[in-house]
Point group: none
Chain length 121, copies 2
DNA sequence: GTGGAAATGAAAATCATTTTCATTTGTGGT
DNA sequence: ACCACAAATGAAAATGATTTTCATTTCCAC
């Protein structure tokens, strides 16, 4: 993936760093960019693989992609408006490590996400 | 919703309190219950509306339904062989609640999973 | 029983996402 | 420049969960 990747990334940035694949595609169409929906999906997926963007789920199950810094963090997501707060996970890191050690697991990683309804909703 | 509702609920219980609509449907089929997929969806939705079950999303976007009040647990999964250990998440519960409180979130839930390579692999 | 509202379910529609596959593009070797 | 081959692209079809439509069935209240 080389040609499309940067265009998709830049569109995602322009969208406020938070959009679904369909939205990125429609936005690029509107701006006269020539790209296929399939390629948008593939580019986003490769950006996820490269850990340049993050993916999470809206309430209706649609995947939304989000620019993401390199620092490992977790998310507090509003189920209603999709608003996202990056949070620190010091406690989690320790917990994950401890549990994994207890069970003899190596090369340990983890995922954690908190969701609820935010103040505004 | 009256006739199907209890049957769907009881099936969800039997499934361990955690399953997708399709899984509930297939389970009922296998057990010889006569019910339509549409009705399973409608029953689950009404159980969600009544706050008897909770809905959240798998990584692939499929909705999974969970009995409310079920003590939920987390998983330690081996990336290599898929072996899974159920673990307790006391620390996580507290962490999630604390963070959510700090940001004024209501109706809070969370997901967490630890993965790595197990002893055998 | 009778009539009408609510519940049911089969089939079709919807919608995001993935797959297939033929075409285009980029690259390295000559 | 030319050729060959691999990677990238995108249109169209396939997939799979979920929702909608609509005709039929069930359940009450009278």
């Amino acid at each position: 993936m080389t040609r499309s990747n940067p265009r998709v990334l830049s569109t995602l940035e322009r969208a406020g760093g938070f959009a679904s694949a369909q939205e990125v595609y429609r936005l690029m169409q509107r701006e006269g960019e020539s790209i296929g929906l399939t390629t948008v999906y593939r580019s986003l997926q490769s950006l996820v693989d490269d850990k340049i963007v993050d993916v999470l789920r809206r309430d209706d199950g649609e995947a939304v992609y989000r620019l993401c810094g390199e620092a490992h963090h977790h998310h507090l997501v509003c189920k209603s408006c999709g608003d996202t707060v990056e949070i620190e996970g010091g406690a989690i890191e320790k917990w994950a490590k401890k549990i994994a050690d207890e069970h003899g697991f190596r090369e340990v990683g983890h995922t954690a996400e908190i969701f609820g309804i935010c103040k505004k909703c």
